[in-house]
Every structure is written in structure tokens, then in C-alpha cells.
Symmetry: C2
Subunit: 185 residues, 2 copies
DNA sequence: GTCTATAGCTAGATAGAC
DNA sequence: GTCTATCTAGCTATAGAC
């Protein structure tokens, strides 16, 4: 076998970059080829299912990222709750480039996007919520309260990303992350 | 002059329907023609600037809606604050079809969408915030607090729309509107 | 596994009849 | 003002050489 020119991770990062900036319909295969450093035909060799399969792979890649950098961090029994929270929020801040990037779940949440990827988007959001629910319980919230707080945390993140970009006030995202930290202390 | 087959308002509603469901890149002129009841060439007669101009017109139409159904309602000196708030929240609930529809600002907030329509999106969001800031002052918040509450209100609305669709929990949007009402009472 | 070249199609946009 | 017919460019996807 001839060696791969581009590693899986590098490939995913390139696809992710374009898909969340332009959305599913806006991201052309030429865009994706340029961003990854592979030609269109090579992308089809890696993903015979075309753009849809590439997007599914990216969502899987993101799910793994959330698992490792949010879920595992927030539920790590070796660390105190406060430290876990701060680390997870740092990771979230980096994921969205301090509010400058768009969330892939949102970018794919068009009518057709939800039809194609709705299950993966839902699973990703549920993972987020499960992680923050566990954290809430660890800081002595009861389960009901903790679930509500976790949902509100996701709402805050998603909402702040939209509003901060729309208003062109980048600091708004950071303020929202601070408010979230407040909620769990 | 030959009479218009489709009224301006009906035209805007058709364009809005498609644009917020599919986004700017996902909405084809065929889609837009079907939704409005006009043929492609007729759409170009009305909007020589093409899809971009159609989208600008829709954003203007939405701005007028926000002005009339949110700003004017929330600042109506003839009504008590509580009544104004309830009416505005009812209008917002209807605008987004109880959480089932996507916000046009969000649908257009891709990389290219923000380049083309960023100014109109920003103005629309600022109008929202101005309206809720005024309401906060009327229920005796100081200006600083009121501004923060207004921004959080917009974050809640935008975030709840995304999360409720993503989780497929429609009731989440209604709950968020109830939380907003709580904030001003 | 990656590439160049290209097929087949649909997109946005226009010409010109009515 | 609206329509049918059509242009060109760009799209997704594939064939086949290396």
C-alpha cells in the first residue's frame, strides 16, 4: 500500500474548518480539497460516500473530542470539581477559538442538515449535557436541578456564540463562560 | 403596468421560509421560485441583484417585523410592563413557530453570510437588545443590569432554538420563554 | 493512494416573446 | 410583469493513468 499523504487527524481538522465556517451546502468539494491538501478524487478514495460521509466522519471526530476533552475532564474522579470545570471551560474556549468560530452542530442544523446528521448532532449535545449534569451532582445539586443547569449551560454556549458573532462583540463569549463557572460554584 | 402576481408581503414570507430553513447557500433559486409562486426570471425582474438582493429585502422585512412586534410592543407607554412583555414573548413564540423554526439571523451566520449581511444581522440583534433594555429599565433595573439582562435574553432565545431543535425537545423553547418572563418580574 | 481529466448535472443568471 | 428557453460556471462524482 502506498502511504497516506495526509493523516486522519489532519484530514478531519481540514474538513471541520471548512464545514463549520461554510455549512454543508456552502462547503464545496474544491474547498474541502484545498483545506485538506488532497485532491477531490483522493477525498473520494478515502470517503466513497462523498461529502455526506466526510461530514459524518467529522461529526464522529468531534464526538471523540467532546468525549475526551469535556466528558472525561468533567467526570475525572482524580480532580476536584472546580478544577475539572475550569479545565473543561478552557477546552471549550479553545474549541471555539474564543468565540470566533462557529459550532459544527449549529452549522449543520439546517433543514437538510438535520435530516442527514440529526442523530449525530443530538448524540453530541446529549453528551455535553450528561457531562455537565454529572458535574452539577458533584457540587451537590440534586439531579433535577443539575439537569436543568446542564441544559442551560449548553444554551448559553450556543447562544453566546451566535450573539457574540452577530454583535461583533468577541468578549461576550468569554463573559458567558465566566457566568457558567459561577453557576457551579 | 401589468399588475403584480404576488404581493410584496407574500413574496417576503416565501423567501423567508426557504432562506431560514436552508440557509443562503442551500436555498436555490428554484426553491425560492417554488415557495413564492413566481418563476425564476420573474424573481430577477423584482430583484435585479439576484439572491443577494432578495436576502437583503427579507432582512429588511424582518427588521420591520421586529420593530413593530417586539420593539414597539415592549416600549408601548400605554401598557403596563408585564403586559408588554407577555405580548412580545407571544409574538416571539409565534415568529419561531414554538421553537420549530430557525432564526434567519442564525441561518445566515455562515462565513460568507456574515460578510454579505453582517451589518443587517447586527442591526437586527441590536434592536432586540435595545427593546429589552428599555423594558428592564421600566421594571426598575439600573441601566447596566438591564443591558446585561437584555443580552442574556437574546442569548437564551438563540441558544434555546438551537438546543431544542438539536435535542428534538420542542418544549425547551417554551420553558426558556418562561424563564425570560421570570427575569423581568 | 494520489493524481489529471472529464462526465453529467444543477446552480445562478439572462434574452426575448407575450 | 411574467413567462419559456437557454447560457455559462460551478457543482458532485467518476474513470483511468501512475
Amino acid at each position: 500500500m502506498r502511504p497516506q499523504k495526509v493523516e486522519h487527524k489532519q484530514l478531519m481538522e481540514g474538513l471541520l474548518l471548512v464545514l463549520r465556517a461554510k455549512g454543508y451546502d456552502g462547503a464545496s468539494l474544491s474547498d474541502l480539497a484545498t483545506a485538506t491538501g488532497l485532491k477531490k478524487a483522493s477525498l473520494y478514495h478515502r470517503f466513497p460516500g462523498g461529502k455526506q460521509q466526510m461530514t459524518e466522519a467529522v461529526l464522529e471526530y468531534v464526538a471523540e473530542w467532546v468525549e475526551a476533552n469535556i466528558f472525561a475532564v468533567l467526570t475525572d474522579p482524580a480532580q476536584p470539581a472546580k478544577k475539572r470545570l475550569n479545565l473543561a471551560l478552557q477546552n471549550i474556549d479553545a474549541l471555539y477559538h474564543r468565540g470566533k468560530s462557529i459550532c459544527i452542530f449549529r452549522a449543520l442544523s439546517t433543514h437538510s442538515g438535520l435530516e442527514l446528521f440529526g442523530q449525530q448532532i443530538r448524540a453530541g449535545m446529549e453528551k455535553y449535557i450528561m457531562a455537565f449534569t454529572r458535574l452539577g451532582e458533584d457540587v451537590k445539586m440534586d439531579l433535577e436541578t443539575s439537569k436543568k443547569a446542564a441544559v442551560q449551560t449548553l444554551i448559553d454556549i450556543q447562544g453566546a456564540l451566535i450573539v457574540s458573532k452577530g454583535l461583533q462583540q468577541q468578549d461576550l463569549f468569554g463573559e458567558t463562560l465566566a457566568n457558567i463557572a459561577e453557576r457551579y460554584s
